[in-house]
C-alpha cells in the first residue's frame, strides 16, 4: 500500500469537513434554503421591503438571543429577559409622557440593572440554579410591573420619536435598527473572542473549579454577566417598543423561548463552554423567516405549530450532524 501514500479524500468527506470547520456556512445555507422555499411558495415575496422587515423583527430576537448565548456559555440561562425588556419598554413609554427622555431612559434601565444584579447574586453567590433564579425574578418583575401599571393608567403612553425612528425607520433600504445592532453585535463578538471577560465566560462554563484555581472569582463573572444580559434586554425592550409602538404588559414575553431556540440553533451548547454569537444571529434570522413561512402557509394553526416544532428539531439535528463530523 506504500505506493498510494496520498489516498484521495472523497469530495463528500471534504465538503463535510470544510463545513464542520466553519459551522456558520451550513447555518447560512439552511437560512438560504428557507428563503428559497418561501420565494417558491409566494413568488415575489422576497423583495427589499420584506428583507428590511425580516431584519427589523430579527434584531430584537437576536439581541435577546445574545443574552442567552452569553449566559448559556457559562452553563446558565436567562429567562428574565422577556420581563426585563417589557419593563423597560413600558416604563419608557409611560414615563416619557411627563419626564425628560433622558430621565425616562434612566428610569427605564433601572429595573434592568436591578434584576440583573439580583440574578447575578443569586446564581453567583447563592448558587441557585439559573433557570429557577431567573424564573423567580421574572415573576417578581411581572408583579411589580402590574403594580406600577396601576399608578400610570391615567398618564397614557407615548413612544419617543427617536425610538420609533430607530425601530421602524428604513434608510436607503436598511432598517435604522441596524445602527444600534451592528455595533452591539460587533461588541458582543469582540467581547467573547478577544477580552478577558469573554474568555472567562467560556472557561467558567467549561470547568468552574479550574477557573477558581486560576484565581477567578466566580461571583464577579456571573454578576457582571447577568447585569450585562439584563441591560441588553432592557435596550432590546426600548428598541422593541419603537418597533411595535404599543406598550403592553406582556410585550416581549413571546420572545423568550425563541431566543433560547435561536441560540441553540446557532450552535451554542446549553451545557456551557461552547458556542458563539455569530451563529446565534443566523439562528435568529432562521426563526424569523420560519415564522413568516408558516404564516404564509394556508393550513390549520395546529398543523402550523407541528411544522414549526419539527423544523426547529430538524434544523438543529442537521446542524449538529454536520458540525460533529470531525
Amino acid at each position: 500500500m506504500s505506493t498510494t501514500a496520498i489516498t484521495p479524500v472523497p469530495l463528500g468527506r471534504r465538503v463535510k469537513r470544510f463545513m464542520a470547520d466553519r459551522p456558520l456556512i451550513p447555518l447560512a445555507i439552511l437560512l438560504i434554503i428557507l428563503v428559497v422555499i418561501l420565494q417558491i411558495l409566494r413568488p415575489g415575496i422576497v423583495n427589499e421591503r420584506w428583507i428590511a422587515n425580516t431584519i427589523k423583527f430579527a434584531i430584537p430576537l437576536a439581541i435577546l438571543a445574545g443574552c442567552q448565548t452569553m449566559t448559556m456559555l457559562t452553563g446558565g440561562i436567562d429567562l428574565s429577559v422577556g420581563t426585563v425588556a417589557t419593563m423597560s419598554a413600558f416604563i419608557m413609554a409611560t414615563q416619557v409622557v411627563n419626564q425628560d427622555p433622558a430621565v425616562a431612559f434612566l428610569l427605564a434601565m433601572m429595573p434592568a440593572v436591578l434584576i440583573g444584579l439580583v440574578n447575578g447574586i443569586g446564581v453567583g453567590v447563592f448558587r441557585v440554579h439559573p433557570l429557577i433564579m431567573t424564573l423567580g425574578t421574572s415573576l417578581i418583575g411581572t408583579g411589580c410591573l402590574q403594580v406600577y401599571q396601576r399608578t400610570v393608567i391615567a398618564s397614557g403612553a407615548k413612544i419617543p420619536d427617536f425610538l420609533a425612528w430607530l425601530g421602524t425607520g428604513v434608510t436607503w433600504g436598511f432598517p435604522n435598527a441596524l445602527l444600534l445592532f451592528v455595533p452591539l453585535a460587533a461588541l458582543i463578538v469582540f467581547t467573547l473572542a478577544r477580552t478577558g471577560f469573554g474568555r472567562l465566560l467560556y472557561a467558567v462554563g467549561d470547568n468552574e473549579r479550574a477557573t477558581r484555581l486560576s484565581g477567578v472569582q466566580y461571583w464577579q463573572v456571573i454578576t457582571a454577566l447577568y447585569v450585562t444580559s439584563s441591560v441588553l434586554a432592557g435596550i432590546t425592550g426600548l428598541l422593541y417598543i419603537g418597533l411595535i409602538k404599543a406598550p403592553s404588559l406582556s410585550l416581549a414575553e413571546p420572545l423568550v423561548l425563541p431566543s433560547v431556540a435561536a441560540a441553540v440553533i446557532g450552535g451554542t451548547s446549553i451545557f456551557g463552554g461552547r458556542g458563539g454569537y455569530t451563529g446565534t444571529i443566523i439562528g435568529a434570522l432562521i426563526l424569523t423567516v420560519l415564522t413568516t413561512l408558516l404564516t404564509i402557509l394556508q393550513m390549520p394553526e395546529g398543523a402550523r405549530r407541528i411544522l414549526f416544532g419539527l423544523i426547529v428539531l430538524f434544523v438543529t439535528a442537521a446542524y449538529l450532524r454536520i458540525v460533529e463530523e470531525r
Partner: protein, 516 residues
Amino acid sequence: MTTSPLLDATGVAKNYGAVAALRNASLSVLPGEVHALMGANGAGKSTLVKILTGAIPANAGRILIRGEARDIRSPAAARRAGLLPVYQEPSLIPDLDVLSNLRLTGTPVEPFRAWVRELGIADLDLRDTARDIPLAVLRVLDLARALAVEPDVLLLDEMTAALPANLAEKVLEVVRRQGDSGRAVIFISHRFVEISALCDRATVLRDGETVGVVDIVPGVEEKIVELMLGARIVKTHVAARSAAQKAAPAPARPRIAVQNLRVGTKLSDVSFDLADGEVAGVVALEGQGQDELFAALAGSIRPSGGTIEVDGAPVKFSHPIDAIRAGIAYVPGDRSEALAMQRSVRENIALPFSAALRTWGPINMRKERATVLSAIERLQIDTRAQGEVQRLSGGNQQKVTIARWIAADARTILCFDPTRGIDVGTKQEIYKLLRELAGNGKSVLFYTSELEEVQRVCDRVIVIFGGRLVDIFPVEEADEPALMRAAYGLPRGAKADIGILADPTAHAYDAPEATP
C-alpha cells in the same frame, strides 16, 4: 508453553478524526498471566483498554476471546464475556451509595465486602454515597467490584497511579494472586518497580502500534524504555542529585512559613518553612492530611488555626486569588480539576491572566501568544491537538496545568503529584523543570506518591502522618525504606517489614490464608 491465549487482539485501530489514537495494536494474554501494557503518554493504552471492554468502538481490528471472535459493543457485553476493566477514572455512580452501585452492576455483596477488607479498607459503610468517598478508596472499591465477579481477564488502567503506597501494595498482592489462580490480568502502569514485581510479560505500545512483547526479567527495563520511546531515547536514571547541585544557602527569611497550621480534624499543628530556590517534598500515605495542607496553602479552604506567613508577613487566604496574588500557584493532582477541557491549550495556559477584574478588557493577542508559546516550548507540549485540551493525552494535559504557572511566572508552585500516570520521558522533563525553577530562585512544594522521585527532585522532605508533621528529612537520608517507614508513622531507625515494594527482589510470595 502452547496454551492458547485467553484474549487475543490484533490490528486494532482507532481514529479520532485526523488523529490516530491507535494504528495497529495487538495484545495477546495467556491464562494465569499478569501482562503489562506499557507505552509513553499518548501511546494509546487507555484507548486499547476501552476498545477491549466495549467502552468505545474500534475502527478496525479483531478480538478473540478463548479463540472465539467476539464483537464486544458495550461494557455489559464485555462483562458477559468475562472481561472486567478498572478504568482510569472511577466508574462508580457518584450520587448512588456503594450498595446501590453494586446492585446496578449485579455484583454479589459478600464477596465484594471480603475483597474490600482484603484490599486494606477496614471501615467501609456500604450506605456511603460514592461522591463522599476519597478518590483512592473509590479506585479500590472499583477493583473490589471487578474482583467480586471473578472475571477471566481483569484490565487495570493505571490502577495504582493515584494510590498511596500502603493501598498500592495491597492491590499488587491481590493482582499477583489473580495471576496465580489461572486468571489473567492486563496491568497498565508507568512504574517499573510494580511491573517487575508483578508482571510476567509486557506489551509495549508506541504511537498506537504494538512495537514489542517482552518477558519481564531483571534488567529488561532498559529494553522497554527503548521500545517505548523509539528514537526519543532519554536517559532514564538521573543519578541522585549531588549536594553541589543544591541551590545557594537559604536566605534568612523563608518564602513561606507555616506555623501550627490546623484544618478541622484532618490536619493539626503543622509547622515548616519553604525557602526560595528550594524544592521541598511532601510524603504521606493516602488521606493523611496532605490534600488539606495543599488546599490551605492554595487558598482553596480556610484553615481553622495557625498562621501562614509569606515573605515574613502573615496572610489569610479566602480564595485562591489571594494565594495567587501572593505568588503561590497550585497544580492539582487531578487534571480534570485544573483544565477547561473544551478550550484550547492557549486559553488554558492564559487563564490566570484574565482572572482579575482589571484584566477583563481587551487582550493583547500578540503578547499573550508569545508568552504562551514560550511556556509550551519550555515544557515541550505536544500541540498536535491543541484546539481542545481534552484531545491531548494525559501527560500533555498535565504539562498544560504546569505551563500555566510558568507563563504566569509564579514564585512558588505547589505541585500535588504532578507525575501521576505520566511516562518516564515526561517525568524526567518535569523533574528537570522543577529543578530549573528552583535554580531560578522559585520555591516548590512537591507532594508525590512515588517515593523514588523524592531523591531526584527534592532538597528536603516533609513527612506527614495522621494529620501531623512527623519528620523532616534532609534529602541524603531520604531513601525509600526510610521514607516508607516514616510515612507509616514509624520512628526513624526502626526496622519493619513493609511489603514487596520495600524489597523488589522478593518474588516468592506466600498467599494469605483467606481467599474469597
